[in-house]
Amino acid sequence: MTPFPIRLLLRLCPHDSSLAGDLMEELGRGRSAAWLWRQVIAAILVDGLREVRLDPGRAIGMCVVLLLVSNAAAAMFMRLSPHPTALWILHGPGPSTSAAAILADVFSAVVLGALSGWLSCAVAGRLRMFTSFALALALSFRVSFAILVPFMPVPVTDIAVLALYLILLVAGVGVGSCAAFWMAPRQVRS
């Protein structure tokens, strides 16, 4: 059975079939799982960078489109929802600004960022999967940080809050990853 990292590589970089075969061969010679993961992650990153280098104009154009779409989505989200983070910033702590509400708010921002990035990529349909995936993830960070970090009066020493915030960001990355992973074959075929 093909190991998961190799399936992931083939899903994200389907043209790397010979590389996948090489990795299988080396694995059969006793290479460790850590070695395999390192090879696969490096191959995916290198492939993504090569893609951007091949067509930087398109990558920059897509960045602009993604920023516009995600900012528009974030602005709409802030208008539609009772934004606990905004309330906290404007009026200080209150009944609707509990830690759970703020963390849920951060999570929503991350998910929104990932999904809006992914959606705009899918609509434009101009970039291959990896770039779309990377930009969507970058945007999920961009949206959540843009909304929160400049205003959040969280002391850096408050490790628990920062840790929770980071965990939720990672959850957002997970959402983007799953979306990109399952979207990959269709985008590559197109």
Partner: protein, 111 residues
């Protein structure tokens, strides 16, 4: 890009590895050859990127072998240096030789 542009160090190493391996030059063996020479572990993905770049420049050609079960039914991609590749390698090698010639710090070092 000029026809006689110098090769980068990684490109040069990849070409030399392919030349040394002759008919058995594919991803794993090329990476191992470079790794043995440099004493450092090599990322297979970056080796492929270099090989593909050299192929685009017309310095290498590649062909697919037969799929094997130990590779999960995937074929090896064998590489071969073209005549242009040999010329470029020689050109770069001579440039290195000229640069290193007569440098006292490099004399007496073991091979």
């Amino acid at each position: 890009m000029p026809d006689r542009g110098l090769l980068g160090l990684v490109e040069l190493m990849a070409l030399l590895a392919v030349m040394r391996l002759d008919a058995d030059a594919y991803g794993v063996t090329i990476a191992r050859e470079i790794s043995d020479a440099t004493g450092k572990d090599v990322l297979l993905g970056s080796v492929y990127v270099t090989l593909e770049r050299l192929e685009k420049k017309g310095l290498l050609t590649s062909r697919l072998g037969e799929p094997t079960s130990e590779r999960g039914g995937r074929a090896k991609r064998f590489f071969q240096v073209t005549a242009k590749g040999v010329r470029e390698t020689r050109h770069t090698q001579r440039a290195f030789a000229r640069l290193t010639k007569g440098i006292p710090q490099l004399k007496g070092e073991p091979a």
